[in-house]
């Protein structure tokens, strides 16, 4: 592969050109109720040639590998239609590396399909048999073994192996017309060991789905809210992290003003980090898809905005250092600025410290999903508990939190000392690129004045 792609780049008439090839093998098994819903195996091979001419990009994707040189020249031709200024890419050291695959206690490619199926079926049966009110389940297993080959016109070359494995466990309980769902998951850049020993999670999903049937919907209003770690992680990623992606900012002066480095975003206790080099993280890999080494990047330090995430182009245009955050979800897409493992650093408080002074509040746990539109965010907790007189009280359902990120970050007034990671089977979506494996982490957080949606 190496000779073939380096040869194709030779003589490209562009300011910069690259080829990234990917080979991926995916196995998916899903159960819906007692039956297998979907079992499939797919293999994928394809590549992308990308070139820049006078600051414009040309992108050509293909799975016909017979004439790579013409793919490169077509990318150059596309770029030629775009470029009107000067190409700017941050200088980076030339890389030449064939990275060892991340550790896998048991390489999932060597695990028989029958064992994968039995494992998933086991969790599925456990949820179905948990309680008569469990009506159905949605259980999914997915493993992907992705190999990336990259070369550019600056002489860099790398190969990386990026395994990703995940299990999603959803239990659906029903009583009359009321249907409630609860979800647990596990996922990492590791081997089949990730899929083993999840019985407690399956049980927890089933138990919560049944409990939610008798929980009232939360009363809409403004509350002091405590987020658990999973929900805190989603919040850090969705509400704040996306604003740190410089492709949103680098050509937009107004948004840059909102995100000026040195501006205070929260209390001194608030630290938010993105780290693609974190050992064992779901969003971890040594190099990004432009061949830039990943590293630990502080976004907010002691409440002050200190950094953001870059591709080579955004780093050069904003006159900041590279961060290793140009990632592509697969060969059909160009690398864009993405998060890796994003987390809020722990504080010093205990969970009891967080709730003790709350007369009427909400303890929101886990997530169903989250979405943002620049400064507005909406995310759904899997469930919540009312906090009354400093104590955890009754379970409530339909907990949807919304607000303005800038105000909400300032309203984080207490952080616990219990950082935990929420690893799942899905991933992050941006544009059409979905799902990208990312890590999400946080301690328990207390936030004042959060709008909670619900019926009146």
């Amino acid at each position: 592969m190496r000779d073939q792609i380096q040869e194709a780049l030779r003589g490209a008439v562009a300011d910069y050109a690259e080829i990234r090839m990917e080979r991926a093998e995916t196995t998916e098994i899903s159960y819906r109720g007692r039956e297998i819903d979907y079992i499939s195996s797919s293999s994928s091979l394809g590549g992308m040639a990308r070139a820049t001419v006078r600051g414009g990009w040309g992108v050509v994707t293909f799975n016909d590998l017979t004439d790579l040189r013409s793919r490169v020249s077509d990318a150059v031709a596309c770029a030629g239609l775009v470029g009107r200024e000067q190409s700017e890419l941050a200088e980076v050291a030339r890389v030449e590396q064939v990275a060892a695959p991340p550790g896998m206690d048991r390489d999932f490619r060597g695990v028989a399909l029958a064992e994968k199926q039995r494992t998933v079926q086991g969790y599925n049966e456990l949820m179905l048999g948990f309680h008569p009110k469990i009506q159905t389940t949605y259980t999914i297993y997915r493993d992907v073994y992705r190999q990336v080959y990259f070369a550019n016109s600056e002489g860099s070359y790398f190969e990386e192996t990026r395994p990703d494995i995940g299990v999603g466990l959803s239990a659906i309980a029903r009583e009359g017309d009321l249907v409630q769902r609860a979800h647990e998951s596990a996922g990492r850049a590791a081997g089949f060991e990730v899929a083993l020993g999840l019985e407690a999670k399956a049980g927890a999903a089933a138990k919560r789905a049944v409990e939610l049937l008798s929980a009232p919907p939360v009363q809409g209003g403004t509350y002091t809210v405590v987020l658990n770690q999973k929900l805190g992680g989603v919040f850090a990623h969705e509400a704040f992290g996306h604003l740190s992606e410089s492709d949103l900012l680098y050509e937009n002066e107004k948004l840059r003003e909102l995100m000026v480095l040195g501006k205070r975003f929260g209390s001194e206790a608030l630290n938010i980090v993105d780290d693609g080099s974190l050992p064992g993280g779901r969003g971890t890999h040594p190099l990004d898809d432009e061949g830039v080494p990943t590293r630990k990047n502080y976004l907010i330090k002691e409440g002050v905005l200190v950094g953001r995430l870059h591709s080579r182009e955004t780093a050069a245009k904003m006159r900041e250092g590279v961060t290793g955050n140009a990632r592509a979800v697969g060969w059909r897409f160009p690398p864009i600025v993405r998060m890796t493992n994003t987390y809020i650093e722990p504080g010093g408080a205990s969970f009891d410290d967080l709730i003790r002074d709350i007369e009427l509040g909400l303890y929101a746990r886990d997530m169903i999903g989250g979405q943002t539109m620049v400064e507005m965010f909406t995310f759904s907790a899997a469930c919540g508990y009312m906090i009354r007189h400093g104590q955890i009280a009754e379970l409530v359902r339909d907990v949807v939190l919304t607000g303005n990120i800038f105000e909400t970050l300032k309203n984080i007034d207490l952080l616990a000392n219990d950082l935990a990671w929420a690893d799942g089977v899905g991933g992050c979506g941006k544009g059409a690129q979905n799902p990208l494996p990312v890590g999400l982490g946080s301690p328990h957080l207390r936030i004042q004045n959060v709008v909670v949606g619900g019926r009146q």
Partner: protein, 427 residues
Amino acid sequence: MRIEQALESAMRKARAAEVAFHQQRMSSAEYEDDKLKRVSASQSSDVSIRVIVDGKVGWSSTTDPNALEPAVARALELAQFGNEASFDFPGPSAGAQVKTYDAEVERTPREELVAVGGEMLERIKAYNPEIKVGCETSWVVSERRLVNSSGLDITSKDSLYSGGVGGVLVRGTDILFAGRWHSWRAKELDAKKLGNDAISDFRHAERIAPVSSKNMPVIFTPRGVRVLLASLLMGVDGKSVFKGDSPLAKRLGERIASPEFSLTDDATIAYAPESGRHDGEGVPRRRNEIVREGVLTCFLYDLETAAKAGAVSTGNGYGCAPSNVVVAPGKTSFAEMAKGTAEGIVVESVMGLGQSNIMNGDFSVNIALGYKVEKGEIVGRVKDAMLAGNVYDALTRIEAIGSEPEWFGSTCSPAVLVGEVSVVAGR
């Protein structure tokens, strides 16, 4: 290895087999933050293989043209664990002619995609140079061939021409996003209209109108209507019905919406984005009436689910998903709806749909772009407010259906006025 050989190879062990070959070419031009950023071209192909062995289904796919034989072997292996197959692949059947290909689409040069995008961008900038504009124009041409062991051998060629324009307006810490897009199988993109419609959204949102928490009438625009349709379409998915997950499972023939509301799934509309002569399994596509004058009249099925449920495929394979979704127009113009509203909200787009218990019909969404109506006039943008309720409840309280249907993706709907919806204000 060719398609026929893959089928033959699969049939050495399988009772029945299907091989689908798909290839596509695509071209696009993208502007970001007022600048032409990227021109792209792509070529891709894939093959998927479905087999029935010992009464069970196995499935695999590949984009590696040299890996057809291993893909067949994997499909055969997977069949041991697969679902029970109480169906057979369909034999040849003509199906009604549906126009899905316009040769003009792929004749569009890259330079023209760049120019059309530039025109939309300039239109928005002329209205307000402060708005940062992004847009994308693209075309895709797909060719499919589907062969199976029942003697089916069909080919199809589809085109799709799309354009979209959107902008971000930042004022202090207030950030407004608005935009429009359109896709059609024929090259019929009205770039001027797309630009003007986006501008009209920005105009309506120039001022921010305060809103307080209470129940009030809500007008869903042709794009906002998806708040109502998302749950309903999940509820008529044959698989959800068969599994008993759908709250509509036992309600066929019952009134589920106000009598003004009719909904069809229609793959036979010339050049509509999801139109086609056959579905992905080779079953002729058709027009399915899902709701007729408020009464639930059908569910959508593919072969596998239909066989299990004792129904017939409605041409919605594979996956029981709708094709083009059409809400029948009513008699009230949008202007009349607004005029008759003393205090209410117009919902153009929302955030967080699908995060609540959507199968159950529950919604609790942030109004991403919506307007306040006071005394019959749109007075400004609604900010930091949520909309909460239940779709199945809202459908019975539809007070008016608009007379001006518009396409949004593969959905064609007029505006819909719902009597009372709970609005929760942030401040």
